[in-house]
Symmetry: C2
């Protein structure tokens, strides 16, 4: 088994070598620009890992892995327009550096390029691979739309929230692993189990992210603690707190959710205090554990040598036990 | 051979029966909305026609034909955002009825849906069909970007213009016919000839559109005469006029291209008069004839019974000889 870091390097090299036509410059330069912003290249590396797990030729999976990276960056380019985000990975976003029209159209061209890269598989698996890819892409679009709707929606239930994060982030993780497994020669049932592993791990990972936003060590987490609280983002913690709060706690929470002018430190402190009183962190931890266990259950059933299952377990442990 | 009107009806029924999930509503309602705006459904009907020409089963081509219709409407949805268009076929555009974010994301979901519909072909032709579809989609994106760039570009050459209209509109016509031919069982060479027929016919058709905008009968053309002149749209006529005008003619043309406040009728009359003095209509007519002849040359070489070639000739004649 190759190490994940080794696979990430393979991807980094492949991204560096991905060439687009010179013209029209405003269509292709933004694609090269966003792909060069970097990132961990975790998703494409996972596709290679899944292929490697089943004894497949990692080299033959590089273009489909690039398809996942190009697709993911296409969604980021369009999401950044929708979110009016000025920065992506510390650099100016495409719609700010060029304009929204360029970002819309370059994103569209990236989606086509992703399809083209995903087709670089043997004819025998072309249809199943593209079926998974299309289902994944639809899921991501649905998740993004549901997330945008949440901003205007007064009451979001925990189930709705879990469905949203499943579609918006976890399905891509699952689909990526499943495609890699199929390229690697996995049986359909095993590829599906790896999908289940990925989806549940993805949900657990997102729940951990919600927890870390409030309770994480800012130096290790690498984000501003309380960012979600300041933007009233409907995370697992906030949704649970709204569900549980009554009387003066509900009033206070509602005050912080509606007040227009506030001191940032004070708001984070006050909302965190309500979270603590309501024990929402514990609920979130339990939910995260539930999905992690589902992931491990799927993993235990995959028909793979024990050392490879152990490798996957290790990977999941590393992903979930970030310091906080 | 089925009549084109009959094929258009088949498509209209299929569009009516195309169902999307109810949720998320803001993702799927705009798709149903734009598809219900109607239009001639010419492109998907042409896919069926191409299939029928080679003796294929038209029913088996309906989903790929729908893919073309969904893809085309996806590009319209995104183009309307970029052009800030308030209306599409007399109805409010998606980004106006909902908002730009909805139009971006629904368009993305349509692109995925188009891919899914295009995959409803036999395994034996899945790869060639998708290859053509991806090349077509890339062409359309490139054409749209070049067209947007033209708005900021001082000098556009006739060759650049012809390349733009080829990519923006003609390649889709060619790709649609080629896919239909392949589904109908055409040999590769014949499918390619039908592609050449479609691309050249598409360019001729667009040139005719440029001429009709100035010289068309407004009652038969169905558009405001001189709309391109009023918006300084870089059409074949304008580009040729800029190329040919010298001295006071050039000054007068430049005046009308830069003046901010003007009487619409006066501007159309003055620019048309310059066009007449420079004979640009004749140049445009000749260019149109050149591409029409290229289309007919390709057609004459296709290995099909003479009555079917005649059918195609008739179709092209109907498309090109609109009253003006």
């Amino acid at each position: 088994m190759k190490q994940l870091s080794e696979l990430q390097e393979l991807i980094t090299d492949a991204v560096d070598n991905l060439k687009f036509p010179a013209q029209p410059a405003d269509l292709y330069e933004p694609i090269s620009y966003i792909l060069a912003l970097g990132g961990k290249r975790l998703r494409p590396a996972l596709l290679l890992m899944a292929c490697d797990l089943f004894g497949g030729d990692v080299e033959s999976a590089i273009e489909p892995a690039m398809a996942i990276e190009v697709f993911h960056n296409f969604t980021l380019m369009h999401d950044d327009i929708m979110d009016k985000a000025p920065l992506r990975r510390g650099k100016v976003t495409v719609h700010e550096k060029w304009n929204s029209n360029v970002a819309i159209l370059s994103g569209d061209a990236m989606m086509v390029e992703a399809n083209r890269l995903m087709m670089k598989v043997d004819n025998a698996i072309l249809r199943p691979v593209l079926d998974i890819f299309n289902d994944t892409a639809t899921g991501v679009c649905e998740g993004q739309q549901i997330d945008m709707t949440f901003e205007q929606q007064a009451n979001v239930s925990i189930d709705e929230y879990l469905n949203m994060i499943k579609l918006k982030t976890a399905v891509l993780l699952g689909g990526t692993l499943k495609i890699g497994a199929i390229i690697g020669g996995a049986a359909t049932a095993d590829a599906q189990l790896l999908y289940d592993f990925g989806v549940n791990l993805g949900i657990a990972f997102q729940l951990q992210d919600d927890i870390l936003d409030v309770y994480g060590d800012p130096y290790k987490f690498g984000k501003q603690v309380g960012g979600d609280i300041l933007s009233n983002k409907k995370t697992y913690l906030l949704i649970k707190a709204i569900e549980l709060a009554t009387g003066s706690q509900a009033d206070e929470l509602n005050h912080w959710l509606t007040v227009q002018e506030f001191d940032a430190t004070e708001k984070v402190k006050a909302v965190t205090s309500i979270y603590n009183q309501l024990d929402v962190r514990q609920y979130a931890d339990e939910a995260m554990q539930t999905f992690a266990e589902k992931a491990f259950t799927a993993l235990d059933t995959i028909n793979l040598p024990e050392d490879r299952r152990q490798y996957l377990r290790q990977f999941a442990d590393n992903l979930l036990v970030r310091e906080y």
